[in-house]
Symmetry: C4
Subunit: 280 residues, 4 copies
Amino acid sequence: MANFGGHAIPGSFFLFYGFWLTVKHILHHYWRTNQPKGRQVKPPFLKKMEYFEGGLQIFASFVGMMVEQFVVDGPHAHLYDASTQSWVKLMNWQHCTMYLFFGISGIALVISTSSKLVPVGVDRLALSLALFVEGFLFYYHVHSRPPLDAHIHSLLLVAVFGGSASTMLEVFMRDNIILELLGACLFILQGSWFYQIGFVLYPLRGPQWDLEQHANIMFVTMCFCWHLAVALLLVASTSCVVWFTVNRFGKKGRDIEIGMRKTLSESNSQKALLEESEEE
Amino acid sequence: MANFGGHAIPGSFFLFYGFWLTVKHILHHYWRTNQPKGRQVKPPFLKKMEYFEGGLQIFASFVGMMVEQFVVDGPHAHLYDASTQSWVKLMNWQHCTMYLFFGISGIALVISTSSKLVPVGVDRLALSLALFVEGFLFYYHVHSRPPLDAHIHSLLLVAVFGGSASTMLEVFMRDNIILELLGACLFILQGSWFYQIGFVLYPLRGPQWDLEQHANIMFVTMCFCWHLAVALLLVASTSCVVWFTVNRFGKKGRDIEIGMRKTLSESNSQKALLEESEEE
Amino acid sequence: MANFGGHAIPGSFFLFYGFWLTVKHILHHYWRTNQPKGRQVKPPFLKKMEYFEGGLQIFASFVGMMVEQFVVDGPHAHLYDASTQSWVKLMNWQHCTMYLFFGISGIALVISTSSKLVPVGVDRLALSLALFVEGFLFYYHVHSRPPLDAHIHSLLLVAVFGGSASTMLEVFMRDNIILELLGACLFILQGSWFYQIGFVLYPLRGPQWDLEQHANIMFVTMCFCWHLAVALLLVASTSCVVWFTVNRFGKKGRDIEIGMRKTLSESNSQKALLEESEEE
Amino acid sequence: MANFGGHAIPGSFFLFYGFWLTVKHILHHYWRTNQPKGRQVKPPFLKKMEYFEGGLQIFASFVGMMVEQFVVDGPHAHLYDASTQSWVKLMNWQHCTMYLFFGISGIALVISTSSKLVPVGVDRLALSLALFVEGFLFYYHVHSRPPLDAHIHSLLLVAVFGGSASTMLEVFMRDNIILELLGACLFILQGSWFYQIGFVLYPLRGPQWDLEQHANIMFVTMCFCWHLAVALLLVASTSCVVWFTVNRFGKKGRDIEIGMRKTLSESNSQKALLEESEEE
């Protein structure tokens, strides 16, 4: 999807996902710090958030794959054209592959939230692999393009592989809030950099960028650092807002939560309580 | 062994080994989660599996080395031909070197299973080194080949070095089921990718692949990700099947195990029990 | 700032910062080893040192950014010159970006010292990112220069990325004195190497260096190792001096500290004591 | 020292050091496993071994530096020749720099053995840095040589940087016997590879090797793996011999040790006992 929209759509998703992760992890951190020690059960509202997150990942990946396949100039599920002896629309197939792994990550999240048999950390492993595959395909994607185009995509790889490494670390170091927020920050960075790629390669107005000029490459490198600074700022301020909002409505919050539990059907609520008491 | 069979044989071995590791680790994990805490003795059936695994590794490596040396066009244990002042069949010698290290890994597994004096983790270190040596030799193997040939072999290195790194981590993080299954998954990936290399470079039917065409390289890169997805699926489904099978026959299983112990000669069985009681 | 002064100023800052970190970490280590176990409160004098450190970082970064922007031949806050269709003084903007991240690191240090809500290790993460950004920008900075110039700057990257990695490790391994002193040592190395770059590229007296000669590159590589040896010696001797000074005035030291607490206004002192007793 | 002897001397040292480390670590491991839990004092004989090791490192490094400087065609402590405007014998100076860091490592070992104030792990950090500097200088050393020469030296780097990484890990993971033996194994590999380099580049008898031939490079790569296999075998067999020897003379050994303590002067022995009782 070599146009501005083709970069804005994934960019928006990654931006949204980064903010979502920030909010989720801060809520989880708030819960952890306010629980008595030794009682580290995952709260019900977090489970609901993870079901929603996983479901959305699966849904968005499915839609993404369908769109890539069945747009007007898409491959329509044909991989090899025997008549011309050539592959059909490999770019669309590559994007489908990326979506596939994010879909797998969503499935892993839903299953690991719903079942206690799944070992803790499988969801992070799947997310890390999804980012690895994204970076892996982009790495060979970039080959033989004009310098600025290649450079701006290879900067994206810093965010993608950084995110993959930090998410992989989360498999082994659970509940480390710094690592979790770093991962969220790298998602926001990735999202905003997708927009930047769109603005540079397919400018909405104004002249085209000179893809060969060295000064442009220098500017873009520096601009990546500014995006990182903004991403750090966004994560920090979002975290503060969420923390103090939750803290202010602390007592109310607990009431609401109790209310939420009550609105659940009686059997569900009892099951949840039973599960909690078992885990204690 | 530059033909389809030469890639299918190691591929089959790695596929089988990946499934074997999956089953073994899931059985061990099931045993761990069903034991009372603090009683982390390795069960007798696992010891038997490890003896079998080590023995098979030693046997297969030995056969592999013999075949590489004494096939019709092999080096027949000659390394340097003084008459022509050249090395004899270096490719076969390289394959022998790879088999040698898998043999060493098998020996390390047998010894570390049989003796308590061997520090825990030596078997994983030896396996990690075997994979490292395989990747190391492949890395210089690939030099000065046509682009597609070089690329498809360098993708193999991702699975090989990934497996080496994850197995090395297991030395320090014992009994982490995610790490163990990731290692198994990378073995399956390696095995299926050996088949893919065979299909691409020595197609059984149909036309030859164009080894210079960029689109082929793009397709092969993407195909590697599909293999990874399939490997993940295979590990996940095998794990589920094994877990639920063991769980269903849980009580029976314990009976069978007791039965298996009884079928052992009286002295052996007593020795095993003594060992267990010592370890407790 | 392509002159000797432009390398001496950051060099002096990094040298000073390296020594500062050495002294701070040794004082903290002395405090830790002389506390009864389980009482690992950060002492008040350390908090003051961290406020000073953070404040200085913020101040120096701000001054640095202002100077880079508003020197006579600076960009004066103009980024793009529409008339000539070119970027304005990108080098100055790059230096500003580096200063910006050290400023962010200072802010993170002040906030994490003042508030208990900020997760432990955020200051180290910010410092690690500041070093990463510095190295990242230098990496692309070096492109297409004469060999010796490129080489001497790429050696700097060893110190910068080494420092970034060791500081990142500190996020996860708190209070490891070896890691802390290694980080300090790499700052001193970086500082002294900035001076070396200044001496080589802009010699104050004597002839210019031949930037193409291979022997010069060999010498500079070796010289980097000598700087490392000197940095190790400086950290070791500073640590010894600080440790034995503090130890000799041990009892006096405790009195002084008590005195320092008393000189604080009554309310502050009581608050601090209350905080300590809460944490115990 | 571009001749066979110049590679055999460091090779012999590294081989000896690898065996020494194997013996030392196995003795330490034997002591650890035979002590009651919670009593992890370093035994007196190990302290003596470490004093000897450190002293030898310092002595050998000093001798090495003197020889490199004052051999007939050495630089005689002159670094820059103003008359010809060129550096004097940079190769000798580089070797001196390597020796210097091994000397620093020896000093760190002696000091950290003698004083309890030095944080645990400083000796390993210094050894890791010594290996890093060796590899760092070799890396730029190799530049612009014939292919086989460059390749055989770059294979050495695998052993050197591998040893540096594994020794660095030991700083953080103390008393891990696998890591310690891996480090020893990499020293043996390095030593035997120095000999191999000598045999290939300066053959004692027979024809010169063709430094451009690809088959030679392939053979050398494979040969490196054989050296690794032999190094593993040597470490394993040395460990077995040491372990069973110590075990057989177990009771006698304890008597000998008590005897050794008694032969120490009364005051020393009492001091040692006092130290032990303090640590318990």
